[in-house]
């Protein structure tokens, strides 16, 4: 079967939205089970005490990264159709930096604040209002920062193309990096507990 199924088999919009609810349900449930609705657990990585954020993020990226590679290599998934975020290098680097600062100050990122709210945390609801305010502020100042927003436009560029290495090598490198970072994280956590 050729995928994305939505594209090749023309799902109805209703089916697409039902899948959205279902996928969102699983996403939310998993974040809750991982403890990712708890801001003390989320921020603990920045105090070198609990590396849950790193472990969840990198196992997820590696799992789906390897999966995507296999699916596209075997021709099951047409990566030419798959929508991914385009690269605008500078706003993404700086945006990531500001997000990291806001993450430690506020205790959440957008998805985890949803789980904070559904666990009954009032501070998560306040964070969510902050999120909306920051977005409103962005829309307001957008005309003045549009130049920066559009800077570093590199289109659809992957790490392997930028580095000029085969995908296999990149995947192997990321697997090794993830494995080493997990080992290091476990070591630091053990050390902190003693």
């Amino acid at each position: 079967m050729k995928a994305p199924l939505y594209y090749y088999y023309g799902f109805s919009d209703i089916l697409g939205l039902i899948l959205a609810l279902l996928i969102g349900f699983i996403f939310g449930f998993l974040l809750e089970r991982g403890g990712l609705g708890n801001p003390r657990k989320l921020t603990a990585i920045f105090y070198l005490e609990d590396f849950t954020v790193l472990k969840v993020m990198f196992s997820a990226i590696v799992t789906s990264g390897v999966g995507l590679w296999i699916l596209s290599k075997t021709g099951a998934l047409d990566m030419g159709i798959v929508l991914v975020v385009p690269t605008y290098l500078w706003p993404q680097l700086i945006g990531g930096f500001i997000l990291g600062i806001g993450f430690v100050i506020g205790g959440y990122c957008p998805g985890t604040s949803v789980i904070g709210i559904t666990s009954g945390r009032g501070d998560a609801a306040v964070f969510f209002i902050g999120l909306m305010s920051g977005m409103g502020l962005f829309a307001w100042v957008f005309p003045w920062i549009k130049g920066f927003y559009l800077s570093g436009d590199m289109g659809d560029i992957t790490l392997q193309r930028w580095l000029g290495i085969p995908t296999e090598v990149l995947i192997a490198g990321i697997l090794i990096m993830a494995f080493l970072s997990f080992l290091l994280a476990e070591r630091i956590e053990r050390h902190k507990r003693q």
Binding site: G34, I115, D123, G134, T167
Partner: protein, 168 residues
Amino acid sequence: MKKNYWSPYIVGVLLGLTLLSTFYLMGWGLGVSSAVSKFTAYVLHMPFPEWVEKNQYFGTYFKEGQPLNDWWVFEVSGMFVGGLIGSITARRFNIKVERGPNINTAGRFIAALIGGALVGFATRLARGCTSGVGLSGGAPMVLGAWAFIIGMFAGGYAIAYFIRRLWR
């Protein structure tokens, strides 16, 4: 009795499989902040319809019709239900304010508001958040997504020491 959290590696692998299935089924990944942005535009549209529609950023949402009629808005609605059922079934649902030992509730709320605003602004600049850019762009090895991830950890570690009274 509260249940224990699952192993972060298991959660990560299951999350990765969910993301992979989303790509396979829909042809795009997971995301949260664009839905929050559309919801924000929708809320602001009630008191200020003209301003929102003429705004260069929010205005585009209304040119495509109703802003809440969007795949990720439905996905985030599903997240609320999944998160709620998750916390109830694990006996973790509890109305409270999560804060460090050296800060009061008012201080925690101010920090949450400021942090939230910074994150909200940052997600629009980066074209997504930890989910939409970090995970959904990181897995297909998008250069900008990896720049975002590096920036995020750099920003977090750069500020953590100076605001340690918020959490420690």
